[in-house]
Amino acid sequence: MKYTSQAVAKPYFIAAIALFLGQILFGLIMGLQYVVGDFLFPAIPFNVARMVHTNLLIVWLLFGFMGASYFLVPEESETELYCPKLAIITFWVFLAAGAMTVLGYLLVPYASLAKWTGNDLLNTMGREFLEQPLPTKVGIVLVALSWLFNIVMTVLKGRKTAISLVLSLGMLGLAVFFLFSFYNPVNLVKDKFYWWWVVHLWVEGVWELILGAMLAFVLIKVTGVDREVIEKWLYVIITMTLVTGIIGTGHHYYWIGTPAYWQWWGSIFSALEPIPFFMMTVFAFNMVNKRRREHPNKAAVLWALGTSVMAFLGAGLWGFLHTLAPVNYYAHGTQLTAAHGHLAFYGAYALVVLTMISYAMPILRGRAANPEKAQIMEMWSFWLMTISIFFITLFLTGAGIVQIWLQRISPTPMSFMAVQDQISIFYWAREGAGLVFLIGLLVYICSFFVKGDSRAIE
């Protein structure tokens, strides 16, 4: 560790992994409820499990982004973090807010939670992914601002690199677009229109800047390739991200009451959205091939390459699969959407956070890389999780295609619930793959506790 203040990243990473485990457990509960409908009912109804599953995902990724930036920005800026104490306070505030929110979901009926937390003052709850009570939403804004402030102040007092600049821009966008979660008009079309300004402009916009910056940082470190080359790539990739992704928001505006011209804008621009992801794959493999050093942390290289490939498959390919308006007319709101969501979030965001953790955690524990035995275990966990999420995606894709056929194309369309019965075999298979994913995650967690000869830090 070059700067002692980088150590604040460690609790963020530990919290991220713990919440990740929680996310997967609730995912397994939901997966079983798809086929054993009354499982855990009424203790944990499906909608509650889903809120916990998706909200934990968002929160652990945010923990990962924050930890990653507290680790990488001092190193990029060649100076200590502006205020490590603030980073630690922010950590505990965010963890407490996150824990209380999840407990609120689990222990209190949602309508009562809304009533007790001031939803009558300002209606913001009960919209997908933005289910958090008002105080939590305000807390997220404060945490994001504290994070942004700390990082920007660090960048300002030290060396300014493209990586820290792009990362800061991504964080600024994250904070700004989240403000639209406070806008919830009665007009359902406007509600949905601006809801996407949080959801789409986060995951297909500003989050990709954060992703690109983190990936570029790790690639510089593990390959030793010239910073000029890597940062040029970074700019070109995120240019394509914004050029395609901003107007690409239009692929959500086909069927929600917005004008039909969005079918053209959305189809054309979102069809180009795989390009930046493909460039990212080419970029990562190129840099690793041109490496000027053999970094002892082989696992980190694997995670980085894995991110570039799986992000392309999940966000790029599976997104393209149903993004053209004539296809989306049939695919909209089916299991195909769920298939894309799972692989895209894993490939792009879960993996990039795990890449950063894999690179940074050994250093935070006082060594350049983990012992070989630990690294082998970590690589096993990569393959177990990556292959099983890929199978989850394949099974949900199968479910989606059959669902579309039986419910929307066949000359004698079946009702939603009748179709769900027909495709239960896919759901069982998905649950099986989910169990393998859990095993992979447990192997991952165990890898942190493997002892052996650790190489001394350079």
Partner: protein, 141 residues
Amino acid sequence: MSATFTKSMARNVFYGGGVFFFLLFLALTFDTMKVLPKRDNSQNITPAVAHGKKLWETNNCIGCHTLLGEGAYFAPELGNVYVRRGPDFIKAWIKGQPTGVPGLRQMPQFNLSDMDIDDLIAFLKYASEIKTNKWPPNIEG
């Protein structure tokens, strides 16, 4: 990438491209807001509809159902349920939950008053009359 294309050129293209396409997006948004009243059925938003939307949200209906195709994929699409089932069926259905049939998906009992359910149905009726470019493909949602 070639040496004539420098990092600072790449940075300028990034800023230029990002700003241009965001401004284009704002322009399209502006136009959308202008033509929306012809499509969004907002003339039929009554206090009952507004209250119905709030009930829709505070009972987290989106956690299982889709509305105009967005939400969870665990339970049927409700954007057109008013047309598919009609108000009486919807009312009886909400009151009759959970069915308690072993092994089948269960919808919770939300203990809504008759007036609440009427408002929720008013909201679903309003939603079903939004011009969605003829989505969903058929009545099954």
